[in-house]
């Protein structure tokens, strides 16, 4: 990881990776959506509303994954003072916030025909809404710190503290059995979803993940270019 602490070295890798991530993301997403919408059979209970699964689940995972990335970047910044860590944290936040919002919106749309309500103050829904507000707080704090020339340590601390919400979201369906269904897919326990409905999900998950990665790389490149331009302007002003 420290090998890429040098921005020039990072950019050498990030420039070609951005295009690859965009291309792979679009191709995988196209395959997953076509498979999900036109090939899979309707669910015996939910009918066609189950198709929302292919966008809702990746959005939930990426919403949480984005904050896990912020927490890792915050740790790298506080412990190792990695020069790209604050840039990575600031780049991850808008992408994570977007996917947390998508998760909330698609969950609400899915809830109306399935549960008969758009919203319920259930453990999973509420903790996901808190994650979205945490993203907004992180974006505001990191922007304010950057504008004042700070080193981003306050935002990094906020990123680490906010990570407490991740296990709460994950275990909320076990701790509070309310409206949201329990865990359907686990790394160790397999899946309770029928294989003929499940197969497009890894495709859309990977597709959205590559697009998420492309957006983060583009934001990191933008931040580094702005920093470079500001440094040049400062130098020319002092000459």
């Amino acid at each position: 990881m420290h090998g890429y602490a040098n921005p020039a070295r990072f950019l050498k890798l990030a420039r070609p990776a951005t295009g690859w991530f965009l291309g792979l993301g679009l191709a995988l997403l196209f395959a997953g959506v076509i498979g999900g919408l036109f090939v899979t059979p309707p669910d015996y209970l939910q009918g066609e509303t189950v198709l929302i699964l292919y966008v809702h689940v990746p959005a939930a995972w990426l919403g949480m994954g984005g904050w896990a990335g912020i927490a890792a970047a915050s740790l790298a910044q506080i412990v190792w003072r990695h020069p790209l860590a604050a840039v990575a944290g600031r780049a991850l936040a808008p992408a994570g916030a977007t996917f947390a919002a998508i998760c909330l919106a698609t969950g609400s749309i899915w809830g109306r025909p399935t549960w008969g309500t758009w919203w319920e103050w259930d453990g999973r829904l509420t903790s996901m809404l808190i994650l979205f507000f945490l993203y907004l707080g992180y974006i505001a704090l990191a922007s304010a710190e950057r504008e004042r020339g700070g080193d981003g340590r306050m935002a990094a601390l906020f990123g680490l503290v906010g990570a407490v919400n991740l296990p709460i979201i994950h275990y909320s369906v076990l701790w509070w059995r309310t409206l949201h269904q329990g865990q359907s897919i686990s790394v160790t326990g397999g899946s309770s979803i029928a294989p003929e409905l499940l197969w497009p999900l890894p495709l859309t998950l990977l597709g959205f993940s590559f697009l998420f990665g492309a957006a983060v790389l583009m934001r990191m490149r933008a931040e580094l270019a702005i920093a470079k331009a500001e440094a040049r302007l400062r130098r020319s002003a002092s000459e």
Partner: protein, 43 residues
């Protein structure tokens, strides 16, 4: 309840938000890199 309006709304919200995020990130990257390049070329 007809499921299709809900499915279409969920997919439309997802794709519009994802496309918005990617386009915003791309535009901010292009303008920032163009600014850095123009300053680099300035004598």
């Amino acid at each position: 309840m007809t499921p299709w309006p809900f499915v279409i709304a969920a997919y439309a919200a997802t794709f519009a938000s994802t496309a918005g995020l990617v386009l915003w990130a791309w535009r901010s990257m292009r303008s920032a890199e163009a600014l850095a390049d123009s300053l680099k070329r300035r004598p």
